[in-house]
C-alpha cells in the first residue's frame, strides 16, 4: 500500500511534466479554428481588440498588445504575398504602417487546452517565432519558440506555432524576432486553431508515460514486493 502511494505521487509528478507542450504541427490542434476573414479581409484597420467567433461558435478577442493600436486584416495572395495558405485571412500588426511594433494577443472567453496559428515575419529570411500561454489571471505560464524562414510568393509553407496544456489557458501571445531591425516584431498570423477539449494526444502521452513509469517502478520494487 505504501509503495502504491509512492507510485501515485510519482504519477502526479510525471503528469506535471506534461503540463505544457509546444508544437509546429497544425494537425495537433484541430478541433476548431478561427478564420480572420470574419473582419472582411479588405486590408482595413481594426481597433484592438475585436471580438471573434470560431467556426464552432467559440468566442474571444484579438488585438495588438499594449492597447490603442489598430491591427490590419490582410489576406494571403491579395494584400500579403508570403507563405500562408492561399486566401487565408491574416492579422497584421502594422509595424511598417506606423504602429509601434507589438505582439498579437488572442484571448478566449472560456479556457482552451490548445491554441496555435500560422505565423510569418514580414522580412525575408530566417526568424524566430514565439507563443506564450496565459492563465486565467493573465499570468504567463509557458513560452515556446520555433524557427522559421520567411519568403515571398511561396504560399502554403508558413510556420505553424502552437501550445497545448493539461489545464485550460485563457490567452496566447504571438511574436517574432527577425531581420526587420527596429520594425520588429513585424509580422502576421494566419488562421488560429484551438482545442476547447483536453488534447487527446496529451492524454495519450500522459497515459503512456504513466504506464512506463509504473513498469519502471514495478521492476525497481520487484525484489521487495
Amino acid at each position: 500500500m505504501k509503495k502504491f502511494a509512492v507510485l501515485a505521487v510519482c504519477l502526479i509528478v510525471a503528469g506535471s511534466a506534461w503540463a505544457q507542450v509546444g508544437t509546429t504541427n497544425p494537425n495537433a490542434i484541430n478541433q476548431d479554428y478561427v478564420d480572420w476573414c470574419q473582419y472582411g479581409c479588405s486590408g482595413g484597420a481594426n481597433a484592438s481588440p475585436q471580438a471573434w467567433t470560431s467556426n464552432m461558435g467559440f468566442t474571444g478577442t484579438v488585438g495588438l498588445n499594449g492597447g490603442f493600436q489598430d491591427f490590419y486584416n490582410l489576406q494571403q495572395g491579395g494584400s500579403w504575398d508570403g507563405n500562408f495558405p492561399s486566401g487565408m485571412g491574416l492579422i497584421y500588426n502594422g509595424s511598417i504602417l506606423g504602429n509601434t511594433p507589438s505582439s498579437i494577443v488572442a484571448s478566449f472567453d472560456t479556457g482552451v487546452y490548445a491554441a496555435g496559428a500560422y505565423i510569418q515575419d514580414d522580412w525575408v529570411g530566417p526568424f524566430t517565432a514565439s507563443i506564450t500561454l496565459y492563465d486565467q489571471s493573465y499570468n504567463p505560464i509557458a513560452t515556446f519558440s520555433f524557427n522559421g524562414n520567411s519568403t515571398r510568393s511561396d504560399p502554403g509553407h508558413a510556420l505553424f506555432i502552437g501550445g497545448y496544456d493539461t489545464v485550460p489557458f485563457w490567452a496566447v501571445e504571438f511574436s517574432v524576432a527577425g531581420a526587420g531591425g527596429v520594425f520588429e516584431p513585424d509580422f502576421s498570423i494566419g488562421q488560429m486553431n484551438i482545442n476547447e477539449a483536453p488534447e487527446p494526444g496529451t492524454l495519450v502521452l500522459f497515459g503512456s508515460s504513466a504506464l512506463g513509469l509504473a513498469g519502471y517502478l514495478r521492476r525497481r520494487f520487484q525484489g521487495v514486493l
Partner: protein, 433 residues
C-alpha cells in the same frame, strides 16, 4: 461561520423580521429630518435623500418596510448565502447586494483580486463612531471578508453625525466601496462639518489610491455652487471621484461641485436591472442623475476627444456612471438610535461613487500586477481616449434615459461616457497604458 457570528446573525435577522418590516418610516419625514441639519449655508451636503425636482416626495432612500415583508423567504438558489431581500426574490429584483454588483459590473477580472494592496479613502462629514462595527456586521451578512485594514480619522470636531443623514451616507460609502473591492484597505475620514473640507480632502488624497466623495457644495438655498478657490485642494495624487448629485440636470438645482471640477472624475447615475444570473439586463440613465455644463470651468483637454461639443467652451459632467436609482437600490446596513437597526434600500449618485471607487481599486491592483503604474488624478486623461479609441469595448454605453437631458449613443449629460468596464480598461493586453 463560527458560533458567535451565527448567533449574532440570527438575533439580528430575528429583530428585522419581528420589527423591521412592520415599521414603516415615512420617506418624506426621513428626508426632512435627516437633512435639515446638513444643508446649512455653504456646507457640504450628502447626496442621499433629495426628492426629485418637481415631485412631492420621492426620495431615494426608503426603509425596507412592508413592501419587502411579503417577499421574505428563502434566499434564491442563484445567490447562496445572501439575505432573502438581496438581488432576486421570487423572481423579482429587490435590493441589489454585493454579489449582484460584483457580477453585473464584473469585478472578478484578471488581476483584480478584490483590490488587494490598494487603499480606498472615504471622506464624509461628521463623525460616526460605529462605522467599522457596522461594516463588519455587513460583511458577516453578505459573506464578505473584512478589509485587511480599516483606519478611521476623526476630524469632525466632535460633531456626531447620527441622524443627520451623514451616518447613512457613511455606511453606504464604506459598505459599497468595500463590496466592489473587498480586499482593499479603507481609510475613513470624518470631516469637520463646520469647515469647507479643504484640509480633509488634501489629507484624503495623501492617504490612499482612490478617494470617494459623495457630496456637493450648496448655498443657503440648497442650490449647487462652484468654488474656483477650492480647486487648490484637488489634483494631488490618486483618482478623486465625486458624485454628480441627485437633482437631475443642473439647471434645476445648480451644478454639482466639486464634481464639475476638471480635476475630479464626476460620477453620474443609472438604473440597473439584473438578470436572474445577476449579470446586467438593462442599464439606463437615471432620471435623478446630476449632469450638465459647468458655469465656471473651461472644457478640459481630455474632454476634447469625446463629448467636446456638448458644453463647449465649458466642462461637461458627468464623466462616468453607475447604479444610482432608488428604484434599483442597494441594501445598506445601519444601526443606531435614529435609524434603528435595518437594511435600507438606498439610491443616489452616492451609490455610484463608492461603487466606482471600488472598481478603480480593482483596476489598480491589476495594473500593478501587470507592470503598469497605478491610476492617478489624471485618470480622465486615460478614460476619454479609451472611449475615443474603442468605445464599446471599454464602456457600456447607456443610450436611454432622461434627466432633463436625453441619454444617447456615446457621451451624454446623464451618464457621461458610460459605465466603465474594469476588465477592459485594466486588461493586461488591451487596457489603458
Amino acid at each position: 461561520m463560527n458560533v458567535r457570528k451565527f448567533w449574532l446573525l440570527s438575533l439580528v435577522v430575528l429583530l428585522v423580521c419581528q420589527f423591521g418590516f412592520a415599521q414603516v418610516i415615512a420617506n418624506k419625514t426621513i428626508a426632512k429630518q435627516s437633512f435639515a441639519k446638513a444643508q446649512a449655508t455653504g456646507k457640504p451636503t450628502p447626496l442621499l435623500a433629495k426628492p426629485l425636482p418637481g415631485t412631492k416626495a420621492r426620495p431615494v432612500i426608503w426603509v425596507t418596510g412592508q413592501k419587502w415583508q411579503k417577499s421574505v423567504g428563502p434566499a434564491p438558489k442563484n445567490v447562496p448565502g445572501e439575505p432573502s431581500f438581496c438581488d432576486y426574490n421570487n423572481g423579482h429584483q429587490a435590493a441589489i447586494c454585493p454579489k449582484g454588483l460584483q457580477t453585473a459590473y464584473g469585478t472578478n477580472f484578471p488581476g483584480a483580486n478584490g483590490g488587494a494592496g490598494m487603499t480606498i479613502v472615504v471622506l464624509d462629514y461628521f463623525s460616526y463612531p460605529g462605522a467599522y462595527a457596522q461594516l463588519q456586521f455587513f460583511d458577516v451578512v453578505m459573506h464578505l471578508p473584512d478589509p485587511p485594514s480599516f483606519k478611521s480619522i476623526d476630524l469632525s470636531g466632535g460633531n456626531d453625525g447620527t441622524g443627520t443623514g451623514w451616518d447613512l451616507e457613511t455606511m453606504l460609502d464604506l459598505e459599497y466601496s468595500h463590496a466592489m473591492a473587498p480586499n482593499a484597505s479603507i481609510v475613513y475620514i470624518q470631516a469637520d462639518p463646520n469647515g469647507d473640507g479643504s484640509y480633509e480632502e488634501q489629507l484624503a488624497q495623501s492617504l490612499g489610491d482612490v478617494v470617494s466623495n459623495s457630496w456637493t457644495f450648496t448655498d443657503q438655498n440648497g442650490v449647487g455652487v462652484e468654488l474656483p478657490y477650492w480647486e487648490a485642494n484637488l489634483g494631488f495624487g490618486p483618482p478623486t471621484l465625486f458624485a454628480a448629485g441627485d437633482g437631475s440636470a443642473f439647471p434645476y438645482e445648480g451644478p454639482a461641485y466639486p464634481c464639475t471640477s476638471p480635476q475630479a472624475t464626476c460620477v453620474g447615475g443609472t438604473s440597473l436591472y439584473l438578470k436572474p444570473n445577476l449579470t446586467r439586463n438593462i442599464e439606463e440613465g437615471w432620471s435623478g442623475s446630476g449632469g450638465g455644463c459647468s458655469q465656471v470651468f473651461a472644457i478640459p483637454a481630455w474632454q476634447g476627444s469625446v463629448g467636446s461639443g456638448v458644453c463647449a467652451p465649458y466642462r461637461a459632467a458627468p464623466d462616468i456612471a453607475a447604479i444610482a436609482d432608488g428604484n434599483t437600490p442597494v441594501a445598506v446596513w445601519i444601526c443606531n438610535a435614529y435609524w434603528g437597526c435595518y437594511f435600507y434600500g438606498v439610491g443616489g449618485t452616492s451609490v455610484a461613487t463608492p461603487v466606482l471607487s471600488g472598481l478603480v481599486a480593482d483596476m489598480d491592483t491589476a495594473r500593478v500586477i501587470f507592470g503598469k503604474g497605478k491610476l492617478n488624478h489624471l485618470m480622465n486623461y486615460e478614460l476619454y481616449p479609451a472611449a475615443a479609441y474603442n468605445y464599446n469595448y471599454y464602456y457600456y454605453d447607456v443610450i436611454y434615459g432622461f434627466n432633463g437631458y436625453n441619454a444617447g449613443p456615446q457621451y451624454d449629460l446623464i451618464t457621461g461616457i458610460g459605465v466603465p468596464s474594469g476588465k477592459a480598461l485594466a486588461s493586461r493586453f488591451f487596457g489603458i497604458p
